[in-house]
């Protein structure tokens, strides 16, 4: 087969998220299906995957206990990755707002200091897994959605910052970085708030995970925002956005359902698209990343779509290989 051109080493390290496969509680619960998905991702040219923190017995790769149950142990699982064509798991995405059977909650809220101990405990489970498989980072979606937390006050922002700092301290002891992910529904919405957060969460162990689609849907100019915060951006999720939340419907109750799934008042049929099919100017963004000497992971995501998951990965693979990689041809000095 012709060589694929998606490196996982060098200045920009490419990987793929694993979150698009699991649809519904009981779907995608078989180990065979998970291994098949790993092989499909590998065949598509992406040899590193970012896992998503999951819960319950229906998610074989969602938690280290599940992995140990299905594969013998986390270390053995890591040793088997190469058999499936996967080179590494660089990190895990963790959203404490999601239900967890194991920690016994229906979603925690980082603006509430009473939840911090449990969030930190849960983050530790996933961080130790990342360390055990030789990974580098934990991505945390620390801020609750606007509809749940309301307007973010200075005190609430400080509460979240304190939690992030505590988790980052735990992660540093494991040799991991901590990246803060913001989604389209986040209670943290303005660039000034990002600035205030970063002032309270010092580098180098803490950075931003920049999700191109989520930020676009939230109304940001992704390239401009990256230029403003580039020194703190340490991680990317690359996916395209097909619409912007111009009606500010992130305020709707249960906006995950009412806006993202149901489409809001405009009944937007699909928010996330394959690279190059929507509103994100990836060529300009990559140009800015190159100019500003970005070094780190770019995790491509499919998220939701009507096609078979494999189609979405393959279309994103084509775009990376044929459109983005040729723009990346200027050699950069290895200064880090």
């Amino acid at each position: 087969m012709k060589d694929q051109n998606i490196p996982f080493e060098g200045a920009i390290r490419w990987g793929y998220a694993f979150n698009q496969w699991k649809l519904g509680w009981q779907g995608f619960a078989r180990v065979d299906d998970n291994i098949r998905a790993l092989k499909i991702t590998s065949a598509s040219g992406f040899r590193c995957i970012e896992l998503t923190a999951g819960t319950g017995p229906w998610d074989p790769l969602g938690r280290p206990e599940s992995i140990a149950q299905h594969f013998g142990s986390v270390r053995k699982f890591a040793a088997q990755l190469d058999d499936w064509g996967i080179a590494r798991i660089p990190g895990v995405f963790f959203d404490p707002g999601q239900l967890s059977f194991e920690e016994g909650h229906f979603g925690l809220c980082a603006t509430d200091r009473a939840d911090h101990a449990l969030i930190r405990q849960q983050a530790g489970v996933h961080a130790r897994f990342v360390a055990d498989v030789g990974g580098e980072y934990l991505v945390i979606q620390a801020f609750p959605p606007y509809w749940r937390a309301g307007q973010l006050t200075a005190a609430a922002l400080s509460a979240v910052a304190d939690l992030i700092n505590a988790i980052a301290q735990d992660n540093r002891s494991l040799g991991l970085d901590t990246f803060i992910h913001l989604d389209a529904l986040s209670s943290l919405r303005a660039a000034e708030q990002i600035e205030a957060l970063l002032e309270q969460c010092p580098a180098p162990g803490i950075g931003l995970a920049f999700d191109t689609a989520e930020l676009t849907i939230a109304g940001h100019d992704v390239v401009g925002l990256y230029r403003r915060f580039h020194s703190r951006v340490r991680h990317f999720h690359f996916k395209d956005a097909l619409a912007v939340d111009t009606l500010e419907e992130y305020r709707l109750p249960n906006a995950e359902r009412a806006l993202i799934l149901a489409g809001g008042r405009r009944e937007i049929p699909r928010w996330f698209g394959e690279l190059g099919t929507g509103l994100v100017d990836f060529k300009s963004l990559l140009g800015a990343m190159h100019e500003l000497d970005y070094r780190g992971w770019v995790i491509v995501e499919s998220d939701r779509g009507p096609q078979p998951v494999a189609s979405s990965i393959l279309l994103n693979s084509w775009y990376v290989q044929q459109v983005l990689r040729p723009l990346q041809n200027r050699p950069l000095p290895d200064t880090r």
Binding site: M1, P306, L314, L315, W318
Partner: protein, 316 residues
């Protein structure tokens, strides 16, 4: 090993369907759908596609001309249409390779197809060399000789267009038993008639494709790599109207490489290809991969995973 050092290049035989807003449709339904298909195939590392001759018309319709269609493919990383599958409509008394009275019509049809294919970079015309078994039987030596005569004549003609005539033996083809295949290649002109090794079709027919390759490697012009989980032990090849889709025992005959139940020994095949120094195009095929809820992109990716992680370690 760099791309330039490799002896094998991979093409995709384009059984593929897309489940979209209009329901389940062919990738040839629009430029947008063909664009999506080609990008997915190219992303996996394929450099060519194979298609059916009845797609020539729609390619012209979509792009204005076949050279324009090829240019569209090349812009997406697909170099050429490596092979055309010549879908002969075998009919008794009208077009049957074992019936010499119909040879002129079959020859003229093949001639028309190769003339019509100019501009796509086609290298092979693939054809089932006889009608369905139930139409050809009893499969006498005389009938096999008639088939060999026809395709030798067609093969001489297609080479004038730079295209090899390659015979592809479906498990329900009139020529599919080992002895029939041996006679066909003995009696056809080795300069003009080539063998296309469809691994699953031979395995279903109870013929080991690796053993056949060892015997016919000198005539082999290409492969359709696909697997099967079943051997036809109950003469399903006689099932009307078409055993591949209406056999009572087996709803899905074909599987992608890399499933645990697969019967074809692809490792041995690649070792044999290495031994005889096969060089050129190798095609991957997933015929009816959607039966039972599967989908073409996933099946194709799994086959590519198997090639990259298993077969290329043997020969590439």
């Amino acid at each position: 090993m760099s791309n330039a050092d490799r002896r094998l290049r991979f093409a995709y035989m384009d059984h593929w369907r897309i489940d979209g807003p209009q329901g389940y449709v062919s990738q040839y339904s629009s430029v947008r759908l063909l664009d999506s298909f080609l990008k997915q195939i190219a992303a996996l590392g394929f450099e060519g596609i194979e298609t059916f001759d009845f797609h020539l018309g729609v390619l012209t319709e979509l792009f204005g001309s076949l050279p324009a269609a090829r240019e569209f493919m090349q812009e997406r990383g697909i170099e050429r249409v490596v092979s055309l599958f010549h879908a002969v409509m075998y009919r008794n008394g009208v077009s049957q390779a074992h019936d010499r009275s119909t040879h002129e019509a079959l020859f003229d049809h093949a001639h028309h197809i190769v003339q019509s294919a100019a501009g796509l970079g086609v290298e092979n015309l693939i054809v089932m060399p006889a009608g369905q078994y139930y139409d050809v039987e009893p499969v006498t030596d005389e009938r096999i000789r008639a088939c060999a005569e026809l395709w030798s004549r067609v093969g001489r003609m297609t080479l004038d267009y730079g295209i090899k005539t390659c015979c592809h033996h479906e498990f329900y083809c009139g020529i599919h038993h080992a002895g029939q295949i041996r006679k066909f290649y003995e009696w056809s002109d080795p300069r003009h008639v080539f063998w296309y090794c469809d691994t699953a079709q031979h395995a279903i027919a109870g013929v080991d494709p690796v053993d056949l390759y060892l015997k016919l490697h000198g005539r082999c012009a290409g492969f359709h790599l696909k697997d099967t989980h079943h051997v036809d032990r109950v003469d399903d090849y006689r099932q009307r109207p078409e055993s591949e889709v209406t056999a009572k025992t087996t709803p899905r005959w074909f599987w992608e490489m890399g499933t645990p139940e697969g019967l074809v020994d692809f490792r041995a095949l690649f070792a044999a290809m290495k031994e005889y120094g096969y060089s050129g195009w190798v095609s991957v095929e997933h015929d009816k991969a959607d039966i039972g809820g599967g989908n073409y992109p996933a099946s194709t990716a799994i086959a590519v995973w198997y090639i990259r992680n298993v077969l290329q370690k043997i020969y590439c």
